[in-house]
Amino acid sequence: MADEGGLAAASELAAHDSVTPVSLPALFIAFLTVSLFGFGGGLVWARRIAVDRRHWLSEADFADIVSLCQFMPGPNIVGIAVCTGAKLRGGIGAIAALCGFILIPWSVGLALGTLYLEYAQVPVLRNILGGVSATAAGLLIAAGLRLLGPHRRRPAAVLFAALAFTLMAFTKLPLLAVLFGLVPLSIAAAGIEKARAA
């Protein structure tokens, strides 16, 4: 079984080597876009660009990165930029993606910041923002469901996804409690599943 895994990894590596590496400016621009469009949910854009449009990552690769980032401190979307960059181009790729994500939006945001504070009370502006956040919430739900797609035929996966969703959305349990409570059980279930299949 270990051989099988090794072979799969080797062929995957070969497939990666045969395509030209992603350019650093492309990474910079991709995450600049994620940053600028990602009102409250950069995940939606990161998935769309890296998976749907550029085919840099498979749905499973991306889900891997999202999961890993959720398990670590900090803004998850910054982690997605760092990990995607690292996967495609190593350390320099991580830096390119991170700079794309932060540099320009941060400068513009800081400049706009002081201006916006003066107009924060204008009703039309607040209404527009309200509409945008309602929409953004729907997009985030959809992005999560899409990423779950590859797992939908595994009963254990569906069960644990539903449990995580319910505990987080409908109880006051802290995120860490949900994460560290469910993940060991979920991993155990996956282990049993694999042992049975073998």
Binding site: M72, P75, L125, N127, G131, L145, A161, L163
Partner: protein, 177 residues
Amino acid sequence: MNGTSSLITLSVHLALLSAISFGGFPTVLPDVRTLVVTAHGWATDQEFANFFAMSQAIPGPNMILMMSLVGWKVAGFPGAVMSAFATFGPPCTIYYVAYRLWDRFRAAPWQDIVRRGLVPVTLGLVVASGTVMARTADVSWQAVSVTAAAAFLMLATRMNPLLILFAGGALGGLGLL
């Protein structure tokens, strides 16, 4: 001099908080508020709330921007830059190291099991955070239908999400939500 020592205090605090901000920076916001408003009086409660609203309204790295505005208030432009680094530096280092380790053991059989256990739980959490966001944003049944319509369009079509967001913003701007 006073500004400098305030800035050092703020940066060190932000760096520590960002390194333990599991689940994203918003989880440690109450702590930042205590430091900035209660303990040091660098900003008023109202100012702090405005920083938050503003960072949410401007696209881009929200929490990094919010902390930069706090830093700006404390020590001007150098304060903004220092606070930004303190907010994204530590987590980025952790992300990078962890991902390299994860990638190195890509072929290991145990990793497949961990992945198959880990992924469903974390994606369930993504869907939940969308729902929690919806609960704050959806103040009316119209807003609830906008959320549902956005999710449906995203799942069922290849429509550009920017168009969907634009439509939602327009409906809000017309006062329909």
